[in-house]
């Protein structure tokens, strides 16, 4: 096992811990906005995971997923955030 392998292990461990923490906040809330922030954070972490995987294999097969997930996460969070704002206006 050389230094690079240790680096990959450390990276996956840190990213995995980050995903677990994000899920904790996602479950706990307390508001819709918190969950939206978590949703976006999860999608960015997912993109990071895929990017590391691409580097680990040296195989660009999954690289399309990097861009696709990044854009999907962005559009999803933005749409939900706008919807949350609309609801607040309707109530007021």
């Amino acid at each position: 096992m050389n230094v690079l392998d240790y680096a990959y292990t450390a990276t996956f461990a840190l990213l995995g811990a980050a995903v677990l923490l994000t899920l904790y906040r996602l479950v706990r809330g307390p508001s819709v906005m918190d969950r939206l922030v978590c949703l976006n954070a999860t999608s960015v972490l997912l993109v990071s995971f895929i990017a590391v995987e691409v580097g680990l294999r040296g195989d660009p097969a999954y690289i399309g997923l990097v861009i696709t997930f990044a854009l999907l996460g962005f559009v999803g969070t933005l749409t939900a955030a706008r919807f949350a704002e609309r609801r607040a206006h309707d109530r007021g």
């Binding site: 680096a7 906040r25 906005m33 990071s48 580097g55 933005l78 955030a81 206006h89």
Partner: protein
């Protein structure tokens, strides 16, 4: 062990560490706006570092162009997202006043309400 491998071995864990600490902030900060800060922007630094680390492992410059495109999208989307989340959070009134030492937007809304006879648009 080449120079590219060393660069990857430094950049990837560094990026993951940024992502991790940002998530710690996401869990521990008491205010929503603080959590928005912690969740969106260290993640950007993390993603850029990770993409750079990955680029050193790729055989082909064309594939690296994809990674550059992903980093560019991240730079374009994060401000929009952060700003929208902040605005919506404020308009929903989900800010805790005891963690703000000044709120000049509320002051301005108050002023315009008084000036226009409660015609001001602002947080409910």
């Amino acid at each position: 062990m080449t120079a590219a491998d060393i660069a990857t071995a430094v950049l990837l864990p560094l990026g993951a560490a940024f992502a991790f600490v940002g998530t710690v902030g996401l869990v521990r900060f008491p205010t929503l706006l603080g959590r928005v800060h912690a969740a969106t922007k260290p993640d950007t630094v993390a993603l850029v570092l990770i993409l750079a680390g990955t680029a050193f492992q790729l055989p082909d410059i064309r594939v690296a162009a994809w990674l550059g495109l992903a980093a560019l999208f991240q730079f374009l989307t994060v401000p929009v997202l952060a700003q929208t989340l902040g605005r919506v959070a404020y308009s929903r009134g989900e800010i805790s006043a005891e963690h703000l030492i000044a709120d000049e937007l509320a002051d301005a809304v108050e002023r315009s309400r008084q000036g226009r006879g409660d015609g001001g648009r602002g947080p409910e």
